[in-house]
Amino acid sequence: MNVKLLVFTFSLVLFFFVIDLTRREKLTFKYAAGWLGVSLLAILSIVFDKFLFKFSSWLGFALPSNFIFFGLMCTFIILALLLTVFLCQQDTRNRLMAQKIAVLEFELEQLKKEPKNPSVKENQR
């Protein structure tokens, strides 16, 4: 019973912590959604633990804890892969931005070097 309470409390704290991070704009909903889903799933697994035991035995796991460890391992591998994809996207975006900055900076320097158009000066007077 104590273990159930411990896991339930941890999942609940995680759930509210993610909500708080979103509220304080440290996390956007796009990235918070997955974590909220995981913590909700953990809470539901504790509340309906009989279903968890039946499901793990149906899948052929000797112990429900093995099933939980397997589930967690799969979740983190997928999460790591998704984060790598995200990192690659950011890398490509950074590269494109750096290239654009280099070209724009060059053009700006060229514009600064060019003598001002005298007709413009005339109009300003």
Partner: protein, 237 residues
């Protein structure tokens, strides 16, 4: 030469050789523009390049050779250059062969001309023994994959027409891009050909591919090339 030609020089910490490389190109008997892409150097590369008439584009941080060369393609495309020629900043590439490299691109025979130090009649510097083993490996692998003879897949002495400039401005490999770019060119249906050139020993500085990096380079480029072959054929718009 009536076409607008841009010489793209990617440079990372090449302050010792950049000025000499630019001056050598400017001394050639035909008019070309030069774009030095300073790849986030921490030395005076940019300052020395700016002392010449070359256009100097400074990247805010180091992107690697692929990112620097691609910046050159983007600049060439934006400024409507007909031909772009990639030349190393370390003085390995002899400007005297520029005309030979540009001619087949200019005549429309090919989209990309690659300077090769391994086809006759010239017998210049052909890299160190260990490197030649690597180059030979990639030459065989790429020749098999593209079903065309490639002898110098790591050569960074290349000329590109407008079609190739546009394609590579949009998509170009990042790390150690030269061998991968040949496979990409084939996937984009770009025609390429090797032209005999003479190369020299690096005049200053040191290569980024040394020690354990050589092994990483071999594995990374091989995997990248093989994965490239699995990608769908691309069509240029």
């Amino acid at each position: 030469m009536t076409e607008k030609i841009l010489i793209i020089i990617p440079a990372y910490n090449e302050s010792e050789s950049i000025k000499k490389t630019i001056q050598e190109i400017l001394a050639l008997p035909f008019k070309v523009d030069i774009a030095v892409i300073d790849d986030g150097s921490s030395d005076a590369t940019s300052r020395y390049a700016k002392e010449t008439t070359a256009n100097v584009l400074t990247l805010p941080f180091n992107l690697g050779i692929g990112g620097a060369v691609q910046t050159g393609f983007q600049f060439a495309f934006k400024k409507n250059y007909d031909i772009a020629v990639q030349i190393d900043a370390d003085g390995q590439h002899d400007g005297a062969f520029l005309q030979d490299l540009v001619t087949p691109v200019k005549s429309g025979e090919v989209d990309i001309a690659i300077g090769s130090r391994f086809i006759g009649p010239f017998l210049g510097y052909r890299s160190s023994f260990v490197r030649r083993i690597g180059i030979n490996f990639f030459a065989h692998l790429i020749s098999f994959l593209v079903q065309d003879r490639v002898t110098d897949p790591t050569s960074g002495f290349r000329a590109f027409n407008r079609k190739a400039i546009k394609a590579f401005a949009l998509d170009y490999p990042y790390d150690y891009p030269e061998p991968e770019a040949i496979v990409l060119a084939q996937r984009l249906n770009l025609r390429f050909k090797e032209i005999p050139v003479q190369m020299r020993k690096r005049q200053a500085g040191h290569s980024s591919i040394r020690y354990l990096r050589t092994l990483y380079y071999m594995v990374k480029v091989t995997l990248a090339i093989l994965l490239d072959m699995l990608k769908p054929q691309k069509r240029l718009i």
